[in-house]
Amino acid sequence: MSQVPLTHILIVSSALFFIGMYGLFTRRNLITMLMSVELILNSANINFVAFNRYLYPDRLDGVFFTLFIVAIAAAEAAVAIAIIINLYRNFKSIDVEAADEMKF
């Protein structure tokens, strides 16, 4: 079985990254934004695994990094959701445009 070239994997991860970025900038719903952030994180994870596999096949550093990032992403999601709940309590909305108190 011929190997998938590295560039293909990088294209996938870049696509994932920019989809996440697009979601982050265009969505107004905080939950959707959080999901977009997860996409960005996972694109980074794919990069880690791919570079690990192609550059240092005999080592597992990148894979472990990925595991850590998944764990941290879970914690981050918990924190983000706590923030979103607080925001909802204050503004009765999870629309990010509603929370523009911090302007000049």
Binding site: L24, F25, V96, E97, D100
Partner: protein, 650 residues
């Protein structure tokens, strides 16, 4: 005089009084602060007399002439050059501490009665203590910078006391005027100090003089270098004299002294008659060897400035009606006498140094009778509640003691024998006779004028009106009995009157001389006739014009109307000053400076602030408050950094 370090207590006790009363007087001793201040002054005066007794006893038996009992290194710049806080004892400083402590004590006692019931009683005595401390420090200072420090302190306490009634706008104005005029003159003093001490590499009076006396010392440069055709040494000495002239209210820097009479009367007696205003004379006397042997041109200046002050002030005094102002002009005139006496030095023999002794002698006697006159004026003003001569008259029965004391003071200042002023004034005129005939005749004429204006004052206050009329006007207390003054006010009058009678018998020509050897009593035969005759003529004219109220003074004034008006308006010197300051300095220096300040300095700052404000207004739109915008900037920033690292940095 071994172990005489206790002499520092003489100035330090009044300082202690100042600190104590200044900090706690108002709260803890609102009633007793006067007694505390006076008690400290009694001790200080006693010590001063003891020191003087010991010093002159040793001096007359050929003791060391100059003693430095206390030396305190304060700021050491290099091994050979330091600023010390030291005390020097020589005949003039010992004489001055006696005068200063004694007059200050009298004024303290007098103020116990005079200032009773004032709201700021404690503050008043605190200021008196500060003044006495500074004046004693000035007198005892051993180097010229120390002198300067105390000189400014004296000016500061004078400012505080003139402005004692700070709720009166005129007093505030007078205090500011006094401070600014003397400060302006002190600028000259400071520059003079810098010139002298820079070239002599010392601040110490005695080192300065000994270095100047060496012909081939490092000071050669100061006498050869010239600026505008006058040697630097002369410039230095002249500038020091300008400082002295400002403090001593010599023409044309005298304008602050008449206004300074806004202060309480005892203060005028102490500061603006007996002690502070003679500081300029003292300063010149302190540096006298330098003036005498290296500054003959400056001495000429001193001679003419002194003579002009004496004459002009006497003329102005003849036309004033405020009794304190008359006394102020007379002070100025007498200081003019002292100054031109100092200017009469001429080399060769003892006769040339007579002026020095005479000036110090007149300073000594003048302190007594002028303080006496001011304190008498204080009693009168206390009774009449007015400073104007025209509100007085016929007070001789109402104020019998004051009457006698005032008369003694007038006789003393007019130079009638055997009162104190006669002796000192005769010495001054003798010195002038030997030095410069023109100045002698000015002095003689001024002497007549002095007698005239003093007796004009005397007759206007105590005669000129029937006694009964006067007692109906004022001076009756609730019981209907006329009262003169409390005991505390009478006692200093009596003591000072005794001083005004007997101070002339102090053998000054043996005690205070330039060469430290007694002067031979070589007089001109019947020399005293002319001054006494001049004084008697002045006295007679005053008696003729003012003894009984009449229209004679008006007619006399009308006959010299131009001169009278000129003198009445003080020769328009105040107007000249305000013309110079308001029209010339304000318009040509003040306004451009203000313009530069407003437009350039402020403009720079305002421009900076405005630029910042505009800039931030322009970019504050970035702070939209929207999270996604921030995320976008963040992303752009990261992308930018990535571009930099990938394409440029490698």
């Amino acid at each position: 005089m071994p172990n005489s370090a206790y002499i520092v207590l003489i100035p330090l006790l009044p300082l202690a009084g100042f600190v104590l009363l200044g900090l706690f007087g108002r709260r803890y001793f609102p009633r007793s602060s006067g007694v505390i201040g006076t008690g400290l002054m009694v001790v200080s005066t006693g010590l001063a007399f003891w020191v003087a007794y010991q010093y002159f006893a040793a001096y007359l038996t050929g003791g060391n002439q100059e003693i430095v009992p206390v030396r305190l290194s304060w700021l050491t710049f290099s091994p050979g050059f330091s600023i010390d806080m030291s005390v020097i004892l020589d005949p003039i400083s010992v004489m001055m501490i006696v005068v200063v402590t004694f007059i200050s004590l009298m004024v303290h006692i007098y103020s116990l009665g005079y200032m009773k019931g004032e709201a700021r009683y404690g503050t008043y005595f605190a200021f008196l203590g500060l003044f006495t401390f500074s004046m004693l420090g000035l007198v005892l200072a051993e180097n010229i910078l120390e002198t300067y420090i105390f000189w400014e302190l004296v000016g500061c306490s004078s400012f505080l006391l003139i402005g004692y009634y700070f709720d009166r706008p005129s007093a505030v104005r007078a205090a500011n005027k006094a401070f600014i005029v003397t400060r302006f003159a002190d600028l000259g003093f400071l520059i003079g100090i810098l010139i002298l001490s820079f070239h002599a590499q010392t601040l110490d009076f005695r080192t300065l003089m000994s270095r100047l006396a060496e012909p081939d010392s490092r000071l050669a440069s100061i006498t050869t270098t010239s600026f505008l055709g006058i040697s630097l040494l002369s410039w230095g000495l002249a500038l020091v004299f300008v400082g002295g002239a400002g403090k001593s209210a010599l023409f044309p820097l005298h304008i602050w002294l008449p206004d300074a009479m806004e202060g309480p009367t005892p203060v005028s007696a102490l500061i603006h008659a007996a002690t502070m205003v003679v500081a300029g004379v003292y300063l010149v006397a302190r540096l006298y060897p330098v003036y005498a042997y290296f500054g003959s041109g400056v001495l000429q200046l001193i001679l003419y400035v002194g003579a002009a002050s004496a004459l002009l002030a006497a003329i102005m005094a003849c036309t004033q009606t405020d009794i304190k102002r008359v006394l102020a002009y007379s002070t100025m005139s007498q200081i003019g006498y002292m100054m031109f006496a100092l200017g009469t030095f001429h080399p060769g023999g003892e006769a040339g140094t007579l002026g020095y002794t005479a000036a110090m002698f007149h300073l000594f006697t003048h302190a007594f009778f002028k303080a006496l006159l001011f304190l008498c004026a204080g009693v009168i003003i206390h009774l009449v509640h007015s400073n104007e001569m025209t509100d007085m008259g016929g007070l001789r029965k109402l104020l019998p003691l004051t009457h006698v004391c005032f008369l003694i003071g007038c006789l003393a200042i007019a130079g009638i024998p055997p009162f104190a002023g006669f002796f000192s004034k005769e010495d001054i005129l003798l010195a002038a006779w030997h030095a410069n005939k023109l100045v002698y005749f000015i002095g003689l004429f001024t002497s007549g004028l002095t007698a005239f204006y003093m007796f004009r004052l005397y007759f206007s206050i105590f005669w000129s009106r029937p006694v009964r009329e006067a007692s109906g006007h004022h001076g009756e207390d609730r019981g209907g009995h006329p009262r003169e003054a409390p005991f505390t006010m009478k006692l200093p009058l009596v003591i000072l009157a005794l001083g005004a009678v007997f101070a002339g018998f102090v053998p000054f020509s043996r005690l205070v001389t330039l060469s430290a050897t007694p002067l031979a009593e070589e007089g001109v035969r019947f020399f005293w006739v002319f001054p006494v005759a001049a004084a008697l003529i002045g006295l007679g004219i005053a008696g003729y014009l003012y003894r009984v109220a009449s229209d004679r003074p008006e007619r006399a004034a009308a006959s010299v109307r131009g001169l009278y008006r000129f003198a009445y308006h003080k020769f328009y010197i105040d107007e000249v000053y305000s013309f110079i300051t308001k029209r010339i300095i304000f318009n040509w220096i003040g306004r451009p400076a203000a313009w530069i300040d407003r437009n350039v300095v402020d403009g720079l700052m305002n421009g900076l602030a405005m630029g910042t404000a505009r800039m931030s207004a322009a970019i504050k739109g970035f702070q939209s408050g929207k999270v996604q915008d921030y995320a976008l900037y963040f992303f752009i920033g990261m992308a930018g950094l990535a571009v930099i690292f990938i394409y440029i940095y490698t």
